[in-house]
Amino acid sequence: MTADSIVYLEDVTVDYDGFKALDRLTFYMDRQELRVVIGPNGAGKTTLLDVISGRVRPESGRVIFGHLTDLTTLRENEIAALGIGRKFQTPSVFVNLTVWENIELSLRRQSKGVFATLLGRGGGEDERRRIWETLETIGLEGKAEWMAETLSHGEKQWLEIGMVMAQDPELLLIDEPVAGMTDEESSRTGDLLVEIAASRSVLVIEHDMEFVRRIARKVTVLHQGAVLCEGSHEQVQQDPRVLEVYVGRRREAQPHAVD
């Protein structure tokens, strides 16, 4: 563990009825790092995010956030309140609320308890400014009053990224952000993630190697629930073990848009 790690997993094992989704995984990320995790299907990528965000409790191992906080005993909403945001693979937004309301509900607040939420009337100047800034960042400022249901697939993905940003997290966990996006949308999403990573730590899972090449400074390859190798995009692509893992799937060295 380096002194400045944002999240640190040590010897983490997740067992789904005999299938080890994570097998004594050790993984850490620095603050303000943009990290991409790749790997074939079933390598444990999404499980890694599940463990950090509290959705899955590991059988063994430690998951440390910052310096001291052990995440393995906390609930999802408690982990979110600590400053870890999670974006899911398929867009998960509130379709019966407006874009504005989606962001408003996501904003970081002192208390997200029932009575605070019931009595707290929205719309201080500061709150409106924060919502507006988030909408500008994700490029949906013109659709603030639209029902989220009416957004395109790509816009929903951005909205969800905006919702995660509105929580003002230190660490963002993002699962396959460009799945199902057009090339132009992918490219905008890449810019967005790089922009976010300027001030926060971002952990992205992605299959699309073109996208990975665009955004990644450091890539981690998972295989059978453990880290196979880590390094720059080029290093990873030339690693013979990575080639072997992807062989049989594709003749070229480039693993590409599996799933």
């Binding site: 909403n77 979110a80 379709v95 407006t98 996501s106 997200k112 308890g113 019931l118 929205g122 929580q167």
Partner: protein, 375 residues
């Protein structure tokens, strides 16, 4: 709330709570006279509407379907009924201080849990607290264990069935199958007098108005939006840092209390409460009211409760055999053709007319146009 809505609420509340009772007080010869029977019928409908509001908050907004709200209705109704039974005193058939059914069952002393119901104040508290606490306990256990969706609906149905079984037993000392009946007075006012019934009707109409304003206040708050968010994606809510089960528990308790209050207003107006009002079937009927009126609108719940029951009272008088068939057909019809209910259908019609005359509003108001979620 916008001024227009205040005016609309005030208008409807005045008709229900002032105009109808005044028409009822007119001499019977007057062409505008509303009969005691009709007013009493309406009192029952409005009590149902109070329950429907809570059910809509729970199902229409938070997406939590309960098939067991008859239980909370029954708890409120029995709490009130117990007090009314004790008010009868020695005026019963057996001229005993005990309720008639206890004499019949050879109970010699008033059971302990009946005693506090001698007090009117305690009864009024119990009408709120018993369904509220029971709802809290049941909801706490269910939501903590993350029981959701269909599974939640099934265990609430099981709750309705078991409550029905329990209330049918004479050993419970709540009158068994025959329930509680033959009430004579309520807080000293004779129940067989038109003025008392009129008073009960007015209290019901005012309680409905207050309940509507309470529910409207909840749905307009940020917590109200969060309920819709829970219906859309509970996982997202959780990962936004909220504990969705606390919000679901909150609306569940609110709806249980509204159901209990509805029951307490029902019992003295109808004059009887039996386990038949608690079971699976009445609980499902309550859901049909909300579905028929249009879920997620509050107004729809009121419209649905009143119109379905009005239809029922008319059909069961004229064609007693077809009512259940009709109820089934109504539910199917609503689900298949009007998923957003009566209120939604009317809203869509209005929207279509607006479009026809070029008055349509932009996409921003989709929510209103669908008769759906209030903003």
């Amino acid at each position: 709330m916008p001024t227009r809505e205040w005016i609309a609420v005030g208008f409807v509340a005045t008709i229900l709570a002032v105009v109808l009772p005044v028409l009822n007080a007119l001499p019977a010869e007057s062409p505008f006279h509303v009969s005691n029977f009709t007013l009493n019928l309406f009192g029952k409908f409005l009590a149902y509407a109070i329950l429907a509001l809570g059910l809509d908050l729970l199902w229409g907004y938070a997406g939590v379907l309960s098939l067991g709200h008859g239980v909370f209705f029954g708890l409120g109704a029995y709490a009130m009924g117990m007090h009314l039974m004790l008010e009868i005193g020695a005026r019963g058939v057996y001229q005993s201080a005990l309720p008639d059914f206890m004499v019949w069952n050879q109970v010699t002393e008033l059971p302990l849990f009946w005693k506090p119901f001698r007090s009117s104040l305690f009864t009024l508290l119990a009408v709120v607290a018993v369904p509220g606490l029971f709802g809290w306990l049941f909801g706490f256990l269910a939501f903590r264990s993350r029981v959701r969706g269909v599974y939640f609906a099934i265990i609430t149905q099981a709750l309705a069935l078991s409550a029905w079984l329990v209330f049918n037993r004479n050993e419970l000392n709540l009158g068994g199958t025959n329930g509680l009946a033959d009430f004579k007075t309520i807080f000293g006012f004779p129940l067989n007098q038109a003025a008392t019934q009129r008073g009960l009707y007015v209290v019901t109409a005012l309680t409905l108005t207050a309940s509507y304003l309470l529910c409207r206040w909840i749905t307009r708050s940020r917590a109200g939006k969060l309920l819709v968010a829970i219906r859309d994606s509970e996982t997202r809510v959780l990962f936004c840092g909220y504990a969705p089960e606390n919000y679901k528990l909150f609306v569940f308790v609110v709806s249980a209390i509204l159901a209990g209050v509805a029951g307490a207003l029902y019992a003295p107006q109808v004059g009887i409460i039996t386990p038949a009002k608690i079971g699976v079937l009445p609980s499902i009927e309550m859901v049909v009211w909300v579905a028929a009126g249009g879920r997620g609108t509050l107004v729809g719940a009121i419209v649905g409760a009143v119109s379905v029951n009005w239809l029922q009272s008319w059909l069961t008088r004229s064609y007693p055999d077809v009512w259940l068939l009709f109820l089934g057909a109504l539910f199917m019809g609503v689900v298949l053709f009007f998923p957003d209910g009566l209120v939604g259908a009317v809203n869509r019609l209005v929207e279509r007319v607006r479009t026809l005359f070029g008055l349509s509003r932009p996409a921003a108001v989709h929510a209103d146009a669908r008769g759906g979620i209030s903003r």
